[in-house]
Symmetry: C2
Subunit: 351 residues, 2 copies
């Protein structure tokens, strides 16, 4: 079977429709010929089922591969992923989001594809907006979005990306009380023993400084202030801080404060108990419900708050997911857009 | 026992020498009085062993704590760590690097301290230069350096920091041969089957594209080019690239290329087999020796290359160490300074 390069396609004759399309769902028939993507053609060339000619001369794999790489951007990447999927036994079709993949045992003739595969190089930062756009496309088509990352040594990692509807188990987000606190250098201290005990034991707020006093993180302090639970005094003048003063002061200490604060407040209002995720390198580890501190449950999620215009460094994303996996938690990104927070879960997928 | 605040110290009378210094190694005698740091004084105040007066008026814990926080920067942080170490049963003394800590069962009267504790807030970026300076101080004093990080909820994590002398087990860093390769979009392809096999099987270079061809990462390609093993052709013009052209081209694709390349080349010359650490979110996973790809050993280290002027984000550092721990590898930072590479190992320490 012989094909010719035409722009960014390889075109083969009528008999290719029988041979490649009807038998293996390669390419798409058009005007009595078969049109193959460069990737499909490279794969058939590698399998020695197709020869490709240019100006009457047959191209070697090396020549065709180099040529295709100059015609189509990220050609090698996509070829590596296509070849991997084929060798795993999947039927693969080109799609707006790189590839459509059919369930094992199914093919384009027997039923719909279930997965959209989006191919990325480890090296190229991934815009959250782009990822959300792909996710929307996939969800509209009722397909699963699989982000596929090719690393510098051409190893492939598959990630499932999905929207997450979250609902926690706490009846009340915080106990009802009013207490005084001081904004010390970069944390808040509650001085009253009864208030300290109540906040710590009902909602797992803060950490005891000692038997009498409670230390709160900036987001905890800000949230309890905004809910009218705390009166926070400044360290220097002892004056009571309003929420705007508090946010301004906290933001000067922690540049991500507003972002974290929005996610923290949203998670509390959804009935979760978020605590710092420092040891996991994320903003929060999140408990669905904390009934008793003696029997602290497993925290189910790691949540990292990111703005809508964020760009993922894929090695950093990979590490976050790998780590969350190793501690049996789901990795969720809280994306803030126009005061709304969308939760996106990303996890390793076995293909 | 009564003390008075004098500048950034609390001074107590002669009888305090007997009571605090001789019995508990708190403070330092001076002119027949006992001088305590604000942290020591706060701890004794909390333990109700000391009262502190100012202008004849006794201060509450809250008043003294707020006052001390305005006098000494990072007072709360250091107090939290001091209190934790005391409650773990250690004798602690002030030192140039925050605290000196004596081995369990030992005290300042019975022998030297073994540990220097350096206290950092999770929120404050840590300059590598500062960390190296502390490490040098500790090594000159023959003490262990313990970096102590206090997170936003006042949880404390202890890390041991040490210089690492590395030596791998490979006899030759690469096989002797010459082969042609092409610099495709962001990776290098070796087209010749014999060369591909030899490079893959002797030193674990690259990853097979298929049975005939080998894909190399940019650092692998650059290293083999610099060692005269590869002739790397450009994709567009087929001309052979010199090492400077290669580095320039690779740097335009990967901004850390030079940094990674220096560490990669150093590790190869030390007899190691570095491979991408993408799945772990670091530059390299490193094998001490690879004799056979069928019996690939466990990679012992994760190595991340950083410049001398780097600033650690402590949540990011925490995640890297936590992850390396969970996969039973040592986390090592390769710090480049004036073409020399220093390897610094950082790991969790149980105190």
């Amino acid at each position: 079977m012989i094909g010719r390069i035409e722009k960014n396609r390889v075109v083969a004759g009528n008999n290719a429709i029988e041979e490649f399309y009807k038998k293996g769902f390669h390419g798409r028939p058009k005007n009595n010929k078969l049109e193959l993507t460069l990737i499909e053609a490279a794969y058939l060339l590698y399998r020695k089922k197709l020869t490709i000619s240019e100006s009457g001369k047959e191209l070697t794999f090396r020549d065709f591969f180099k040529k295709a790489a100059t015609i189509e951007s990220a050609f090698e990447l996509k070829y590596i992923v296509y070849k991997d999927l084929k060798e795993r036994g999947y039927y693969v079709q080109p799609s707006a989001v790189d590839f459509r993949v059919y369930p094992r045992g199914s093919n384009p003739g027997s039923g719909p594809a279930k997965i959209l595969v989006y191919v990325q190089s480890e090296r190229v930062p991934l815009k959250v907006k782009e990822l959300l756009q792909c996710l929307k496309t996939a969800e509209n088509m009722r397909k699963q979005l699989v982000l596929t990352v090719v690393d510098e040594e051409s190893d492939i990692t598959y990630y499932e990306v999905k929207s997450s509807k979250l609902r926690g188990g706490m009846e009340k987000p915080h106990p009802k009380l009013t207490a005084d606190a001081t904004f010390l250098e970069d944390r808040i201290v509650v001085w009253n023993q009864a208030a300290s005990d109540t906040l710590f034991n009902n909602g797992f707020y803060g950490k005891p400084l000692d038997q009498e006093r409670l230390q709160l993180s900036l987001v905890e302090g800000g949230y309890l202030l905004s809910e009218g639970v705390l009166k926070v005094h400044s360290m220097e003048s002892d004056e009571i801080l309003g929420i705007d003063d508090f946010v301004e002061k906290a933001s000067s200490i922690e540049k991500d404060f507003s972002l974290k604060f929005a996610a923290y407040s949203d998670l509390r209002s959804l009935g979760f108990v978020p605590k710092t995720g420092f040891k996991f390198g994320t903003h929060f580890r999140v408990y669905r419900e904390v009934k008793s501190l003696e029997k602290l449950p497993h925290s189910e999620f790691l949540i990292h708050a990111i703005p809508n215009n964020y760009e993922f460094s894929l090695p950093v994303m990979s590490r976050a997911i790998r780590l969350s996996n190793s501690v049996h938690k789901k990795m969720i990104f809280a994306v803030e857009k126009a005061e709304q927070i969308n939760y996106i879960e990303i996890g390793r997928k076995k293909m």
